[in-house]
Symmetry: C2
């Protein structure tokens, strides 16, 4: 019975492409997937260091530079990688060719940070059906104005997933310099375990709170398109982590909590003595959001019967100065007494699809932190995540005790600390 | 009276683009041309060393690599230069943008060594008329197969001239690391003079015999399109050399001879004892030409009444082994006795439009060389050139005495020897 061949997108980052020797290693992995009978598309990043070099040239040319010209300059890095990998594959006797981003990927939005709008899959279909391996530069496409576009730093993952969705691939494999997705940062907890499966939702929450294995945007696209992802090492032959819509049957025994996420990129802002009336939160948070600052936790606690209240929110540290400026401009309108900030806070989160049906997991988290005298400055919950804002100095302790309490510690210490 | 603005193409080579400081220098020259009221297009090469680096990466990837993928890799160098120059011009407050080769230049022929077929001038016209400076990567275009093409090493000059012709430019200025076209190589004759004008024909002959200021192909296109060229220094504010269809009135007093060309890239092949009959030359030279080897001088000298003759021709040294193989394969067919080669020969030529109407110039050349006991191994003449094949060891002496005899020595020694 002739079955349709599997179509697989393999994505390799800059570290995997750093030099001809490593490109040969990539080519060998591609060869194996093709030899296994798959149709293979390869999406590549610029050789490690190359994008930084090009960005630096742009900065030297003009401190404030036109993003359209920035795209022209930096897109060249991925172009070079694609040509070199295609040559290397051909040199191994394989049928391969490169395509350029502008031939395949229609992008929209702003230059330098564009979105993938559509993939011209006909060209690729033709090549793949003819037995040709397609090599595609990640990160680049054609903007609506007919000029080169780039997808923003780290856009290679997003390219790969968008292209995989565009060509209806069966799977998108992201090769990286880690072995997969871990229960937490192994630099904090050497006993962290590699997950064999994690759901899209969990991965989104883990990525969103600091587990930087994958670009958040790429996970969101894969989830929308129901495209299975796999994260695995470009350098070691080990099974990676599958990112899927639902855990498979044999994974049901997996812990209710997939992992513990740590995020140091937090700052806390408190306005004291704001009026305790409807609309106060909107008056403060509205302009902050309009300024493009991502507000995370929001607490509005009224002092009973006083008519006054305190409003606290968290935002990325890098946006703290901008957030303060926005608020100070509106002091009269908002009517607060003091504007207090704290950038020595951090966020610890438990993430897992089990949280949805097990409300006691949140309670367990608070108990565990309380036992260690870790003070909760704020708490937020979602369907599959519970986050606590704590002092940054207590972050590593918090991660370790939660990792242990939720049964995530590896039976044997693997000594994976950096 | 509103007159049409002049439209000028400025071409800058890799040395001129080597680093942001030099790119600023280029931008300043562009600014001045624009400030003078001209519509300006700038064609740029890759930053010095960049093309070599990319070619080396290709070689490491695969000793024999697909020219289509080579084009993808090496075209990136010019792309980066164009983006950086556009940014730099914008940073000076000028209206500028880059275009990509694939947006503008239709190429034909083989990948890695394509020809410019057409220039999509509508996009450029629109930009120029709107007061925008157009920055274009040289050397690259779009092949007939819809993929990136490159024009072969040094193709930047050809790009510039083809684009200038395509947009009906009034002039194409080639900025380089020499100050213009000289009467001979200043490394051989320190008293060499910079020519203020030279005709296309003269330039073709000078370029063809080793004066490597400009790519021969670019001069041929300019001549066909009757597009004035100017060669000038990217680093010094000095008048360069105008390359024109006919010398202007004030140049009629210029020497009859424009310059003395020296070419060490010669080898001599002699077949002794070939039949002295019609068709012998064709039997030998035909297969050589078919093998893509450029034969230059041909001598066929019969020994009276013997029925046998010697056939001598010259070819580039790099092709000598190939030429010998072609001949040895056909030994029976040709019927020669000995195959002799000599790669210690060189060619010295006098070049000038004056030769056409002054046949005695050739005689003068032979006398001057004879006075110095320089033996002529072969001679060839064209409308505006007389060449003599001599021993390579006598080349520099020959150039010096001819330069002096034809009145080309600068009145004052300028010490331009390298």
């Amino acid at each position: 019975m002739a079955s349709r061949r599997n179509r697989i997108v393999m994505k390799f980052g800059g570290t995997s492409m750093a030099g001809i020797e490593r490109i040969r290693n990539v080519a060998e992995r591609v060869r194996r997937e093709a030899a296994a009978g798959n149709e293979v598309l390869v999406v590549v990043s610029a050789m490690a260091g190359e994008t930084d070099r090009l960005v630096q040239l742009c900065r030297e040319a003009a401190a404030l530079h036109d993003p359209k010209e920035y795209d022209v300059v930096v897109a060249s890095g991925e172009q070079v990688s694609a040509g070199l990998l295609a040559m290397t594959l051909q040199n191994m006797g394989l049928n391969a060719r490169s395509f350029m981003g502008w031939q395949l990927v229609k992008a929209s939005g702003v230059h330098g940070n564009a979105r993938v709008e559509a993939v011209e899959s006909a060209l690729l279909d033709e090549a793949l059906k003819g037995g040709t391996l397609a090599v595609i530069p990640g990160f680049t496409g054609l903007a609506e104005d007919g000029r080169l576009a780039t997808l923003g730093r780290g856009g290679g993952d997003t390219s790969a997933v968008a292209i995989a969705a565009g060509v209806k691939a069966d799977r998108c494999d992201i090769y990286t310099d880690v072995e997969g997705v871990y229960t937490t940062d192994p630099r904090i907890v050497p006993k962290a375990r590699k997950l064999s499966q994690v759901t899209f939702e969990e991965m989104l929450e883990l990525a969103g709170v600091g587990a930087k294995v994958l670009q958040v945007r790429s996970v969101a696209i894969a989830m929308r398109e129901n495209l299975p992802l796999r994260v695995l090492s470009a350098f070691e032959d080990k099974p990676g982590t599958d990112i899927v819509a639902e855990l498979s049957g044999d994974q049901m025994e997996r812990n209710l909590i997939a992992g513990i996420a740590a995020d140091r990129n937090e700052a806390r802002v408190t306005l004291t003595g704001v009026p305790d009336k409807p609309g106060t939160v909107a008056t403060v948070i509205g302009p902050i959001a309009e300024a493009g600052i991502q507000v995370d936790m929001i607490l509005h606690a009224a002092t009973p019967d006083s008519g006054a209240s305190d409003l606290t929110f968290t935002a990325p540290r890098a946006s703290l100065a901008q957030a303060m400026a926005v608020i100070e401009q509106r002091k009269a309108e908002i009517g607060y007494q003091q504007l207090l900030t704290d950038d020595s806070v951090a966020k610890v989160s438990i993430v897992g699809v089990g949280i949805r049906s097990n409300p006691q997991l949140a309670a367990t988290m608070f108990e565990v932190l309380a036992e260690r005298q870790i003070n909760l400055l704020a708490v937020s919950t979602s369907e599959i995540k519970v986050s606590a804002l704590i002092a940054e100095s207590e972050l590593e302790l918090a991660v370790r005790v939660l990792h242990s309490a939720f049964g995530l510690d590896s039976p044997e210490s693997k000594g994976q600390a950096a």
